[in-house]
Symmetry: D2
Subunit: 352 residues, 4 copies
């Protein structure tokens, strides 16, 4: 019963003024069992958070602190790191040593294979933590997340892709080396870095592919999918930048090992995700749309058994800042704290 | 104390599949003391609501009913009407006769002067209700809303304009016949009607004024502002259509009767809205932006005492579906039910 | 020599107030050898064209006529039909009988196999013309277009897809039954029909797939590609609707029969299109973007030999109203009239 | 006769890779009497222009040079400066000394009153040129532009505002100290500078005012309007940032000194601009829209004599990169070279 719970968990957020940090604060503000006890911002240290992020005005009374040893010595129950890749691992080991549980939204603890991380990112400075880190995809790793000390939130593209593929690869339905993921993302998937190519006029009213076959979310997907499938899974991943703020569509092309009807596939997927409140398997023939999941933690999935080409097409839609980052991070936290999974994640998507 | 309240109020929604209806359902879904007991839709009667509005999938289990006497005979505590202007008054009188309180989002009960309504809309069929109807702007009419049987939610433009002007006209700071309201709105302000000029390609990447000096929100503003000021207020109102889904900026130009400093004006506005949790008076020199209020019930207001031209410029930002319609309607309901005003309206705006 | 040419060709346009009709007029207005002698519009017959399409104000002095026998009896050298599928064939046979050459932007004469047309569209009323119709893709059928009486302009998706695939299938580089076309289009690809799902607020800031594996441009691509390849080509086609006004990206996944380097492929493509001024083969590693072809007749193509998955990825970008419709139609007309192919098509793309 | 003209004028462009530079090149590429002989770019010096601006690929064969004395010593007939404010005046004096005519798109030579420039910009280093500089608004200063050595292209907001107001102030129709200009602009009005607030996700799907009453285009408008009116004109100017790439709407509120009918005003405006092919005075009651002028050199103007408030409302629409910058610059060049004013500016606006 809610009314019995007296205390609130104390949460800290590192890197609070990027898009994932802001979204995290937006969600946690209405979380009944959480108190945000401190936030850091490299760029805005010393300033009132709601002056820097005016959408939070009136709802949040915090100021942006410097990320320092002093900050980390506050009494936190959980710390979220929204720091960029490579920076997170500068702080996570010492936080864990203090006995504080960490939810890391960077890529730093997503891989089990340190060589893979170092190939696609940089030299890892705390590889010993990779084995204790739990991949924060609750629909697959719910049990491990419960007791995890360090949860590593998946990349946005891997979230949409793995959730779409997991039932198929787990059940060995598809050929493991013939998987194409054509993904389309809104701009916030790339963070809030200030670059020419992310200016409004460069993105608006047009679209473009990028990092064809060379995006570093590809090895992440492969490692996790291979783990789920218990065999090597290979994917071809091709992302595109779409003129929208939030949202990812993953259109996935694969080949069934044997024939299944649309109904069988739908039933299999529904069964797989029966206990996962954020997965919505759409009725046969229904198309997902990012308009229907904006601002939420949902992942909508449609399955098409295409006869003409004999392919299975799986299409997922997520909000890259919701299920693709901060929503998922709160979902993981709820699990870690033994709270109902949907706590603070119940508001339906914003439409339109 | 929340935990003592056992029962939930039963709510019905007429016209649930337009943009204001959908937003209303989105908000009420997480309202702890409300149960949506029935919704109607002319266009989609007989269909599952969440099939027609897929964003609600998983959160709402309702089907769209026909608006009939039978429907209205259900046990409702409150009925929201999101019907179009002119249609609402076909049903409101009989609902009220049944003893059900009504929150009407149409224009049908916004005017006190029936002649004014009939000049700008059409023949009124229940003018006797205009006097019992309370204008649902809580910041001004909170006390009357409390006991109202019929609350008429203001138009979106009037909400943004009146909130920006009320402290000034109430305190007789400005000349009452020299007020220009240059407003800019996203497309949902015009509803979900299917017309050529609202197609994506007609609106995208461009903007246009419309109904210059002839929009029917103008007499609404004038009537309410005159009531607040206790003298005749005249406004020139010029709206523009902006390529965005939600949001209204009202840029209001007027003339101070005597000189005030920016600080004095800010203090006066803050005092006026001291008990109004959804009004955020921005610090001097700070600009409002619709990006900072999206999906929320906030109204952000900035005040500029422009010396060069000796004018007062007041700028407000609201979400036309939030504070400009459905958010405000829920705020009114909370007041009517004796609930905290912010109930179900606490999630910060979605940014970006 | 241009200066010797006295007369201008007289052109008529059927269905002038849809997006392809408007774009056609925009281009022809600056064509030095063309006079637009008459335009029809079902919806706006009797009105001044530039009142209905205000962008043309000052540049075009025409009024919208009714499509009648009388209209067709004017002295036209060429008639463009921008009528919808199914309607074009009501008029084309009689126009051709009058000895007027026709450029048809509908699907009515795109197929050689009448059964295929009738499967995906409707009963064909002039199948005898299918054999004399030339598929209006100059890069492939330039010689036939020159003397054609009836040119059928390809669909927008087929244009982007066939241009990307032609060199590969013509040279038998890829497996003919393992081709996936993941396409993304702006809204004008679907015409100017007034429907709920094309309203601004339904499309803005989000995206969705549609007609997965069941779009009728798929059989069109297959028929033409099979003709080019001189063997059966099968494609899986999956389109998506992107929040932008114009532009199509086709991301095409296929498999090379034997290994080629990126340089070899680039050289092969450049050779194939050596005489085609509107095809821009991008340097290796360079991404196309619809921002770079907007308002133009260009088709940008990038080729990626992806080693990890051993696939060939070909990506094309066109403006669906330019190379995907009206630009291509003017290009065809230039060829039919013996004019330089780029006449009236020389302005670089609008950026941004 | 075109065919008689042998030689082409040689043009240089300083700062070619900003938005105005790119648009200038787009227009000049199809100019029959111009050859672009050299372009500079600080950021991209040494690179192929069409690699940096891929929209120009195939149409332009130039490389970006360093802005040096050597560059300026090439044989140019005219040099355009698209350099930022403050930088242009570092180079203009020496170019003029070489006998090359200059068209400057910066603010450096827009003011006659050096004190005004220095108040709003910075210390002026060549104030002696202010008197020989001609304000490049052909509709007002056509005769002076013809023989000018240095033409200073107006700001985008001043262009839209002055064209809308000139007939009224020239004819002394309105009170000179009661003019409010509420302007709305797409993002390219602010140039291509890489800043947080111009990122796609910060601008998309929302809008905001900025520099209320403190934008430096305000004194520019006042100086020019005062010159036209031959009396002091004071304006209140309030700009807003709209989520679109191009386009400006100026909604101007003023007061007529005596009553005029809508027809009289329309006739007066049409007379004033009778010889100005780029001004389109819209029929009474017709609204301008930026969708109808995109990519063109048009300025659309509507006039409303609003009776309720007794105000005159004038609304103009321009493309800030067209008539608001590069289109206007080409128009000025045509006049300077004795060419027809519309040369290279005849393509109708891109719609949609």
């Amino acid at each position: 019963m809610q009314e019995c719970r007296k205390e609130k968990y104390r949460v800290g957020i590192l890197g609070s003024t990027g898009y994932t940090g802001i979204e995290l604060i937006r969600i946690l503000t209405v979380h009944p069992f959480i108190e945000i006890s401190g936030v850091t911002s490299q760029q805005f240290a010393g300033r009132i958070l709601s002056e820097v992020v005016p959408s939070l005005r009136g709802d949040v009374e915090l100021f942006c602190e410097k990320l320092s040893e002093e900050f980390l010595n506050k009494e936190f129950d959980i710390i979220y790191s929204c720091l960029p890749h490579g920076h997170s691992m500068e702080f996570v080991p010492s936080i864990i040593k203090k006995g504080i549980r960490v939810i890391d939204l960077s890529a730093d603890y997503r891989f089990k294979d340190v060589a893979l991380y170092e190939k696609w990112y940089k030299k890892h400075t705390s590889p010993e933590l990779l084995n204790i880190a739990v991949y924060g995809l609750p629909e697959i790793f719910r049990d491990k997340i419960k007791d995890a000390i360090l949860v590593s939130i998946p990349g946005c593209y891997p979230t949409g892709s793995i959730l779409a593929l997991a039932p198929a690869v787990k059940n060995d339905l598809i050929f493991p080396d013939d998987i194409i993921i054509d993904a389309k993302s809104g701009v916030t998937g790339g963070g809030r870095a200030v670059t020419l190519e992310m200016l409004y006029a460069e993105v608006n009213d047009g679209m473009r592919p990028y990092k064809v076959g060379s995006h570093r979310h590809m090895p992440e997907m492969e490692e996790v999918l291979s783990h789920i499938a218990e065999r090597d899974i290979k994917v071809l991943f091709c992302p595109h930048l779409i003129p929208m703020s939030r949202g990812i569509i993953c259109t996935i092309y694969c080949r069934l090992k044997k024939k299944f009807s649309a109904d069988e596939l739908e039933a299999l997927y529904k069964g797989f995700y029966a206990d996962s409140p954020f997965i919505r398997i759409l009725p046969s023939g229904t198309m997902p749309a990012t308009q229907h999941i904006k601002g939420s933690n949902y992942c909508d999935i449609s399955i098409f058994a295409e006869e003409h080409s004999n392919r299975l097409i799986i299409i997922s839609a997520i909000d890259n800042l919701g299920k693709g980052a901060s929503g998922q991070a709160v979902q993981c936290m709820n699990i870690m704290l033994g709270l109902p999974e949907r706590t603070a994640l119940t508001t339906p998507p914003l439409f339109p």
